[in-house]
């Protein structure tokens, strides 16, 4: 009898604990409801509430898509500003970050609060409905030319932008003979001298937005006929070009060469400004099930602060606010975001048909 009573008592106790836990869970606001509440406050009250909440949470689990030292130094600035938040950071590529979040959430493990990633890598996360809507006054600082990076549903906070453009080795090609436009890359004079990465969705989407589908198809065909160099690795291709291996980068980030040029002004590097530069945003997104929503919000807002934006510029990335470190103000930009999977499939098909993955 005693044993039965004891078991009943234990079972009842467990039920009570479970019920209390459930009540507690029910009472705790979801990140989205919390953010909706915050949106009703004045900016000052809101900031105070966010900081208080972050202080209680004391921690942020964040995935950065800047790599290594670049990422760590960025986060260190945040930790210096808000010493009460300890950031547990992992750094990886944008696609890997998206995969990681999906894997964790699918398994029901809410290990990541926020991630930074490129907008073209967002669709897979959006499809799974994993992001919290986060309206924030911080985005009011985004200047008009970059307002296209904002999301009407507030699912992300843009904080920097990346660029793809044409550049060349000035030892191999004098400026007067350099290409002036994307179409110029088809000229026979540059046969076998232009390098690209293997088919890259972001780059192709940028070209598609700039040219439209028909023109893109024609362009890919003529590039294919011009014996392009297809080699994996943006930085490595840039270094090879600067070493004299080939003359032109048809698809690459421009900052690598610009950084080299700053270190050593003799670096034989020039950017083709007359050809539009393709630009897409890097954004912070907050997990719908974030365990530290205040800290995530604090970080998302901070990325648009003067301090963070200066860091972006100092590291030769594109800040949304302030002066770009090396591109002139009047540079021709084509900004782009997501397109449908069907379009992406078609772009890959064209590329594989005419350019392929090797010569």
């Amino acid at each position: 009898m005693n044993k039965i009573s004891a078991r009943l008592l234990i079972a009842s106790g467990l039920l009570v604990i479970a019920a209390v836990g459930r009540l507690h869970a029910a009472a705790a606001p979801t990140p989205e409801s919390l953010f909706a509440e915050l949106a009703k406050l004045s900016p000052e009250q809101r900031q105070k509430r966010v900081e208080e909440g972050a202080r209680k949470e004391g921690r942020l689990n964040f995935i950065h898509t800047f790599r290594g030292k670049l990422a760590r130094d960025h986060v260190r600035l945040f930790e210096k500003r808000y010493a009460f938040v300890k950031v547990e950071m992992a750094d990886m590529g944008s696609q890997d970050a998206a995969e990681r979040l999906i894997a964790e959430e699918t398994a029901g493990r809410h290990l990541t609060d926020a991630i930074s990633l490129a907008v073209p890598d967002l669709p897979v996360i959006l499809k799974q409905n994993l992001l919290a809507k986060y309206p924030t006054p911080a985005t009011r600082r985004v200047p008009k030319q970059f307002q296209g990076f904002l999301d009407k549903e507030n699912r992300w906070v843009p904080w920097y932008w990346s660029e793809h453009g044409i550049s060349y080795n000035t030892n191999l090609i004098p400026p007067e003979k350099a290409p002036k436009s994307w179409e110029d890359l088809c000229k026979p004079a540059y046969k076998g001298q232009i390098s690209f990465d293997p088919p890259e969705t972001r780059f192709m989407v940028g070209l598609y937005v700039m040219m439209g589908e028909e023109k893109f198809q024609r362009w890919v065909k003529c590039i294919g006929e011009n014996q392009p160099i297809i080699q994996r690795g943006h930085t490595q291709r840039m270094n090879l070009m600067l070493s004299g291996d080939h003359a032109i980068q048809g698809d690459n980030f421009l900052y690598v060469g610009a950084q080299e040029k700053k270190k050593d002004p003799k670096t034989p590097y020039a950017i083709v400004y007359s050809a539009p530069i393709l630009a897409y945003a890097g954004v912070v997104v907050i997990n719908k099930n974030a365990q530290h929503p205040h800290a995530a919000a604090l970080f998302a807002d901070w990325t648009l602060s003067e301090e963070s934006q200066k860091y972006v510029a100092d590291e030769f990335r594109g800040p949304l606010i302030g002066t770009h470190p090396y591109l002139p103000d009047d540079v021709k930009l084509v900004t782009f975001g997501n397109v449908s999977d069907e379009i992406v499939d078609r772009l890959h098909k064209y590329w594989n048909q005419h350019i392929g993955r090797g010569k």
């Binding site: 290594g68 950031v87 990886m92 990681r100 894997a103 398994a107 930085t235 670096t267 993955r357």
Partner: protein, 580 residues
Amino acid sequence: MDLRSGFSGLPARIRLDSSRFALGFVLLILLYQVAIPLLMVIWTSLKVARPGEPGFFDFSFSVANYVRAFGSGDFWHASWNTLCFALASTALAFGLGTFLAWVVHRTNTPLAPLIGVITLGRIIIPGILITVSWILLASPSIGVLNHLLEAITGAKRTFNVYSFWGMVWVHSLEITPLAYLLLSAALQSMDPRLEEASLVAGAGQWSTFRRVSLPLILPAVGAAVMLLMIYTIETFEVPLLLGGRAGVRVYTTEIYFNTARTPTDWGLSGAYSIAILMLCAGFLAAYFRLVRHGERYQTITGKDFRPRRIDLGAWRYLTCALGLLLVFLITGLPFLVMVYASLLRRYQPPSLEILHSMSLENYYEIIRDPAYSSGPLWNSTLVGLGSATAVMLLVSAMSYFVHKTRLRARKLIDFLGFAPIAMPSVVLGAAFLWFYLLFPLPVLGTLTIIALAYVTRYMSVALRFVSTSMLQIHTELEEAAAVAGGGWWKNFRAIYLPLLRPGLMAGWFWVMVHAYRELTIALMLARSSNRTAAVVIYDLWENGSFPQLSAFGVLIFALLIVLVLVGQSVGKRFGVREQV
């Protein structure tokens, strides 16, 4: 206990003791470390839904992924390229590796130890660096070798690393140390009396090598050829960095391009993995057939055993020169390029002007932030030591059960031990990530999860290292010990482990070094506190320039040389002493 179930030749008493416990332990680990990830891969390959999507855990299956994987002409074209690439690379690497192992371990060639150390030094240098070094050496436009040759002879663009044979050359040099290690272990464990008998009977050195030495090391030869083939089929860096410009598309680049979009197509990846697995199973069956008469290769018996070296006379100077030339090409030349690049701000072909601008700035940049470099280096050291030691102990026991017993499960053990070689790192990393997300053991974000993944990843190669040595040990030693009353564990520890030393050391070295180099799994499982050296290499590769990456490579090289020397001196205490 049923005597027919295995352990023939041993008294029944032994079969009931610790051997059963060891067998159970090995099977349990194989189930946990290999069977579960393998099952996840097979399951995923038969599902249209991604992990986590509705229907993923349903018992409805589809071959759609297999149809997609093998339904395109491109894939079969790439497969043909892969076959040519694998055959050419294996032949070259096997020839070079065998020659070096023979020179170092079985002849009185001067400087043999130095040749051996420099050959192994090659394994330490990350593959990315070596491939880029060869681009800098033999690129038609900027290759140092082409510049030198042009200056001397006027011949332009003689070498072209961006070609099929360029790929074969760079990859062969990459895998030559593997052939060297496998053959070295076998040559060191070989009883020289049979060779001496052949020589006394009037056969020449070459005839003795061909008719006596080579047949005795047949298991090692089989293992080496099989592993070299599989490694070439699996290799990624050379096809990725050189293949695009060479116009040579191989299996791995096809897989990469077909699965590189977000979200990762796990079903397609799984289908490709199963295809490689089937191929490996075929290789393993051929290997089993080759070594089916295991007793033929048992050269380590109860009699006095001391490996001896062959006196080459004056020819030893030629073998020395050839050996030095080879190791210069395999390790020395790319290492020098790496050191040269590490002193530059930006890579440029050598010139007087460049020599004046050299500095140690890249080293300073890396060292000045200890958290950036020393933390991951320490993590890699821990993971490397832990996983290498665990793997070698595990595969020693596995190899014993496979080759020294008649257990029905022995082929299954060998297959499970070998199966991980067929799982690309990205698939294995994902399997571990998913497993520990679904079963919340507290290992996420720790070094343990990386070490566990490495145990699986490197089990297959380590098993072959130890198996070749195990096949050479005669069972009479264990039988004698058993008659004398020793228990299984005591005999295993006192007889097998010391006699396996060459294979164990070679395997330990291989796993240890690769734990430093392995990138994909480390990246997939990395969080803030478990970053490894390979992750730093990747960061430098993605962010910075080749010079800084080279500086980090030089630092890793120095650290690993120290670790390996320590490991060797520890290993020598417990092994067979050679008579030189």
